[in-house]
Amino acid sequence: MPMSSTQRDWALSLPAFVIVGLLAVIPALMLFVSAFTSPDIEGFTLANFDKLWNSKLATQAFWRTIRVALSVTVITIILGYPLAIGFLRANARLQPVLLTLLVFPLMVSVVVRAYGWIVVLSPSGILNQTLLAMGLVSEPVEILHTEYAVILGESQLLLPYMVLSLIASLQKADSNLEEASMSLGANPVTTFFRIVVPVSVPGLLTGTLLVFALALTAFATPLLLGGGRTPLLTTLIYTFAFTTFDWSAAAAVGLILIVLALVFVALQRWVGAKVLKSYE
């Protein structure tokens, strides 16, 4: 008997399922299992989480991770709007150049860019030398290896994602909307908040999801700019796995990170469903 079209579809997608299953589901399951087991205890246990809960380092890293991801998201939104609007207002001949400038950093290794920031931010770096030379400070400011350095580095890293998302949604809108708003008596500031922002909400939601998720899971930037003094969940995993060889603790942190990301995705979807009802 010949295969029905659904059967054929299943047969054709089977290899993909197998590969995805092997590459993604199994490691996730293993992560799950090792997060709830401990070498010293029989069966499943919450001991790993308990240990993290009582560790100041771990709880600090948890809150710091959320703080950094939120700060980075907010910063990229604040910087994203002027850049996206500037791009769309720019001369048509200039736009391809601006787009290249915007996307180019994405082609440079994250590590290279972190080293760039180190050169700028370190105690003997460009920033401190300038501040000292101008007499604004009497001794070097400590920025490198603080949360601020991580926020700065990640914001710069993730800004293009926000700008591109905003451009995509603003570009789709009728170019006369702002003028219509002004002709109806709204000044430019009112027009921005009442028209431009609402029009860009779909892009804002996408951009927020992208930036927050990437900020949450960034590794190289916090490692190089935050250092050991300001661990985030990702760098904590690294420390547990490769410095203290506590694989169970590393798995537990990994699971927390996944849950954080899922909570945020759910939140984003929920807001999206509420807000976007009046769009599309």
Partner: protein
């Protein structure tokens, strides 16, 4: 209601001049249209009045008050964009009420006036719909209501009917006229459709290549187009270069008697409408203003036949319109009544 006057308006984009020395005035409560082909500077003129473009030189006056230092949001000018530019994420009610909200009216007043405005454009009970749920014609009505609800001094319409299909366009044309008359708002309409301009306007400003070619009532422009461009644009089919001779004019050596020789520009062209040509019999003894030629092409337009007739007036064939049941072929004889000859400036 206010009058709007544009005085010697010049708008340049770098070295390119989009509007060159335009002057016209829309009296309070009247409807004036700017008519011209694509790219002639109609929208640019409208946008300078709205305040979206700086002007290079000249003046725009609202009731004799210069607008130069008034930003768009304080001009109290309602605009209907060609794309309508309705706010997609707002309901129809919120769209129409936006201008009132910006004027800080009480919620109850906003609701009442929004309802009134929607009723006036024939869309009651659509407050809670979204623009995407409306047809093109309905969107156009919402845009109109939104531009009128705050009682603007002036309303600007940029090709408001061009996005509609032919049947709806005819309907909306009458609607537009009715709504404009009812509200009494001074209105400036941009269009490249001469029929629209003629049926709606009190005054027409004809533009070409950034220049205002003629300003006048529809009747004036129809009866006395000033230049070959205007005549051509409003559909005068036959236009030929001519010169003044004793007792009349000459077109390629053919003598015609014509109206008074006064005010003839030099050089000039003459124009005449296909429907103004009178067919005559070959053996008619009256030979004054006779044009003879051979039919070389024909087209049927529903209520008439249109013929191309090769004549001695020039290389271009003469266009002749005959009644539906009147078939022509071979040689035809036509008479051009002297009073139907339009004297046109060359451009």
């Amino acid at each position: 209601m206010s009058s709007v006057e544009v005085r010697n308006l010049v708008k340049k984009y770098g070295a390119f001049t989009a509007v060159r020395d335009a002057s016209f005035k829309a009296e309070s409560g009247s409807l004036i249209s700017i008519l011209g082909p694509s790219g002639c500077g109609k929208t640019t003129t409208l946008r300078t009045i709205a305040g979206f473009e700086d002007i290079t030189s000249g003046e725009i006056l609202l009731d004799d008050r210069p607008l130069a230092n008034t930003p768009p949001w304080r001009r109290n000018i309602g605009i209907v964009f060609q794309s309508y530019a309705l706010f997609p994420f707002m309901t129809v009610g919120a769209n129409v009420g936006y201008g009132l909200k910006m004027r800080k009216l009480a919620k109850s007043d906003i609701d009442r006036r929004t309802d009134e405005a929607l009723k006036r454009v024939g869309l009651p009970d659509s407050q809670s719909k979204y623009p995407r749920q409306l047809s093109g014609g309905q969107r156009q009505r919402v845009a109109l209501a939104r531009a009128l609800v705050f009682e603007p001094d002036v309303m600007l319409l940029d090709e408001p009917l061009s996005a509609l299909d032919a049947k709806l366009r005819d309907e909306m044309r009458f609607e537009l006229k009715r709504i404009q008359k009812q509200s009494g708002v001074t209105t400036l309409l941009v269009t490249h459709d001469q029929e629209e301009a003629f049926t709606l306007s009190d005054q027409i400003v004809v533009m070409n290549n950034a220049i205002v070619k003629q300003v006048g009532t529809p009747r004036e422009i129809w009866d006395q187009p000033g230049s070959a461009f205007v005549a051509d644009f409003i559909g005068v089919e036959n236009i030929f270069p001519a010169e003044t001779v004793a007792g009349g004019i000459e077109i390629s050596g053919n003598r015609f008697s014509a109206g008074s020789p006064n005010n003839r520009p030099d050089p000039f062209k003459v124009g005449f409408r296909s429907s103004d040509l009178v067919l005559v019999d070959a053996d008619n003894v009256e030979t004054e203003n006779r044009i003879t030629g051979e039919v070389i092409g024909e087209a049927y337009t529903g209520d008439s036949n249109v013929y191309q007739v090769q004549t001695g007036l020039g290389a271009e064939p003469v266009i002749l319109k005959s009644k539906k049941d009147q078939k022509l072929h071979g040689n035809v004889h036509m008479r051009l009544p002297p009073e139907k000859i339009l004297v046109l400036e060359e451009d």
